[in-house]
């Protein structure tokens, strides 16, 4: 907090700190990010000190316990899976200049569609076939949920960032409605959940608790990266994102491109919701994917919407979440500490990780 207050743009102070800033501005990209991250760790260290914990011990415990075993590192991958897909759901539309704040809702709709497919088909078909159909249904549901926002933008002029945000809540209420009512597991323990997915319809495990969803997520990132780099659709998206008016004049079908970008993003988030359902949770319940959509949004911005970096960002944020377990179990800090750590890290990188850029 103090560091931030000192950074206030009071004119005289700005002159005093000019040298530091100049020095900082000369740093290369990686070095700037490194300095930002270290700054974040120092600030959070001060906060931990205020709460009576020893920052050095806490950081040491965090690192050693998180990277102690394959299992805990696997947890990072499990956590990152839906976040990577939710982040890509932001990156694809962002290339076309669209802002998708609706990852949360699209994840939910993916999970709902997946569960709905499983409930409708039962165990009639082989598990793998059902699972594939569930993935398709999840992708379609996520795509439709996101495309709705793009269509409203296209034909009604309503900002997609507004509608995607609002649709998150509608999606949440749809899921709640279903698990409280039609889909509620009558033989369950009374809390509102759907029934569990039959074993055959779950994503197989790779090792430990890591399921194949991570392959879907990383594979999706690779494919999106290739599409961005080598297809004309990817190129057109960037043209539209650069200057939509110019793109329209040069004969591009801007509307179709925008809607397709949003739909592809939504499909990715939908699959993300399904990976969480079929890989980790197996049931819909009230906290299903809570917050992952927003963390994915942040991961996409952190990775500047480039698939490779987005994957790394999602892994970083997942690592913070997993490391947060250690903050409370090993260092006896309140559970909420991890939110502060994540916020401070992101603020530092957003604010100082690159040269003052034009805000999008």
């Amino acid at each position: 907090m103090t560091a931030i207050v000192e950074g206030l743009p009071a004119p005289q102070r700005e002159r005093e700190k000019f040298d530091v800033r100049e020095w900082f501005d000369k740093l290369s990209g990686i070095a700037r990010i490194a300095v930002s991250l270290i700054g974040a760790l120092i600030i959070f260290g001060v906060i931990m000190r205020l709460k009576g914990a020893n920052p050095l011990t806490a950081y040491h415990d965090m690192l050693s316990s998180t990277f102690k075993s394959w299992d805990s590192m696997g947890d990072i991958l499990v956590r990152a899976t839906p976040i990577i897909l939710a982040a890509l759901a932001v990156s694809v539309p962002a290339r076309a200049g669209l802002i998708n704040v609706g990852g949360e809702g699209q994840l939910l709709m993916g999970g709902v569609a997946g569960m709905g497919t499983s409930l409708a088909l039962g165990t009639r078909l082989p598990g793998t076939v059902t699972l594939v159909l569930m993935i398709l249904a999840a992708a379609l549901a996520g795509a439709a949920w996101a495309a709705l926002a793009a269509v409203l933008r296209q034909f009604m002029g309503i900002s997609e960032s507004v509608t995607t945000l609002l649709l998150n809540y509608v999606a949440l209420d749809i899921m709640f409605f279903l698990i409280y009512d039609r889909w509620k597991d009558r033989s369950g323990s009374g809390q509102p959940t759907s029934r569990a997915l039959p074993v055959g319809q779950r994503l197989p495990l790779l090792f430990g608790r890591v399921h194949e969803g991570i392959l879907l997520a990383v594979g999706a990132a690779v494919i999106i990266g290739l599409i961005f780099a080598f297809t004309s659709w990817g190129f057109r998206l960037r043209v539209v994102g650069g200057n939509a008016e110019a793109a329209r004049r040069s004969g591009l079908k801007v509307g179709a491109l925008l809607i397709s970008a949003m739909a592809v993003g939504g499909a990715l988030a939908g699959i993300g919701g399904l990976t969480q359902l079929a890989g980790a949770e197996f049931k819909l319940r009230s906290g299903f994917v809570a917050g992952y959509g927003y963390i994915g949004f942040l991961a996409s911005w952190l990775g500047r919407h480039r698939p490779g970096y987005v994957v790394l960002s999602a892994l970083l944020l997942s690592t913070i979440v997993i490391g947060g377990d250690s903050l409370q179990i090993d260092s006896q800090l309140p559970a909420a500490s991890v939110n502060v750590l994540m916020a401070v890290t992101l603020l530092m990188v957003f604010g100082f990780g690159r040269k003052k850029a034009v805000s999008a």
Binding site: S72, E212, F282, P307, I329
Partner: protein, 401 residues
């Protein structure tokens, strides 16, 4: 530049993915087994039986506790946390790990796994919805004893798991007597979170207690669909007061809001989870609160000694007034409770300590059907599952489900 970097990354990722798929071929065959264990540990239960050298939790040096909410919620989680600290105090040689705000989902699995990685061999999963993850973790760690607070394992119970709870409806029943005597409008209010069997049993017991001394007493119910959303609690309380409710109680994790709302509105309040009489010096009637220390310590002692498997804790353990010390105890009385009411409650305590519960038939459901037949004196283990409907005198419907 960008494209080249991206391509390099893509190539690397494809390689990783390819390696992954290779692994997955072998893992696929293995996966169903692991997953089965994950979801329905009960049915694939280990044979258990004799406590061998690998008795779950034997000689534990580290114990983990997970809580669904903050450990200072002035309610359910705080009581459980206090219990964990009592364990730490009684066992100075044992390290006690705690984690608060652990959601009732896959995150709970992860936190318990971390505790196990840190050496925990006994784990208390203290929230109702922690059961699924608890069973999942237990199936993967037969050497770890995992006990879950408040839920109910259906089917076979594996050698290293169990549930435990007090018969919460008993003190609630006694508090219902005080509420029935205290009301002048004959309308009692009950704010609850979810229509889980435990809660329905509580609401029924409260109404049955009230009706015992006041046949006209009715209990109006409102659910908030959240264990702790203070604003929803405030709104639920004012809706109930608007209907003329003059004694209110709750089944929420955090309890301060409703208690203060009652005090400010000049209504009476029956507590739950914690002694909140300081928040309502005038309106406090009585209530129920947790005293977990003895049960927790006994579970720990039994397990550390290697006797978990086959013990009463390796089951759906419920302890009530009839067969032992109920960890859910009656809170102190407020100023308005008369001696006659106190005497009546003392009498009823003796009765249910003999019959075993307030649910001695005949008891009719809201729709007039029989919930507990005449002469039916259900065992603790059956009470929650038999409370499938509200009893007569409860006003409100169980949300679809």
């Amino acid at each position: 530049m960008n494209i080249r970097r991206l391509a390099a990354f893509a190539a690397a990722t494809i390689m990783i993915a390819a390696c992954g798929s290779n692994n997955s071929d072998s893992a696929t065959t293995k996966a169903p087994a692991a997953s089965t264990a994950g979801s329905t540990a009960g049915s694939t239960a280990a044979s258990g039986g004799t406590a061998s050298a690998t008795a779950p939790g034997k000689g534990a040096t580290t114990i983990g506790f997970i809580f669904v909410g903050p450990k200072d919620d002035f309610g359910y989680n705080q009581a459980a946390y206090a219990g964990s600290q009592a364990v730490a105090k009684a066992h100075p040689d044992i390290k006690v790990l705690t984690a608060e705000n652990v959601p009732e989902d896959d995150n709970a699995t992860r936190v318990m796994e971390k505790m196990i990685a840190d050496g925990a061999t006994i784990i208390f999963a203290t929230s109702y919805g922690h059961l699924d993850p608890a069973l999942k973790v237990a199936a993967e760690h037969p050497e770890v004893a995992i006990v879950q607070q408040g839920n109910f394992i259906k089917g076979t119970i594996a050698a290293n798991v169990g549930t435990y709870f007090g018969t919460v409806y008993e003190p609630v029943f006694l508090a219902g007597i005080a509420a029935g005597a205290a009301t002048t409008s004959n309308k009692l209010g009950y704010v609850y979170a979810f229509p889980i069997p435990q809660t329905i049993a509580n609401i029924n017991a409260f109404e049955l207690g009230a009706k015992l001394v006041n046949p006209k007493a009715e209990t109006y119910v409102v659910n908030t669909s959240s264990w702790c959303d203070p604003a929803k609690q405030a709104e639920a309380a004012s809706s109930l007061f608007a209907q003329g409710v003059d004694v209110i109680t709750q089944h929420q994790d955090c309890t301060a809001t409703i208690t203060k709302a009652a005090e400010e509105a000049g209504k009476k309040v029956v507590g739950y989870h914690a002694d909140a009489s300081s928040l309502a010096p005038n309106g406090w009637v009585t209530g129920s609160e947790w005293a977990w220390a003895d049960v927790y310590n006994d579970i720990v002692d039994t397990t550390v000694a290697g006797g978990f498997t086959g013990s009463k804790y390796n089951a759906n353990y419920r302890v009530g007034y009839k067969d032992g010390k109920n960890p859910f105890v009656q809170s102190k009385y407020g100023p308005s409770v008369t001696d006659a009411t106190k005497a009546k409650i003392a009498d009823e305590l003796k009765v249910i300590s003999t019959t075993g519960s307030p649910f001695t038939g005949p008891i009719l459901a809201q729709d007039g059907s029989t919930l507990f037949a005449a002469g039916d004196a259900p065992a603790y283990a059956d009470i929650e599952s038999k409370n499938t409907a509200f009893v007569q005198g409860v006003v409100g419907a169980i949300p679809a489900g």
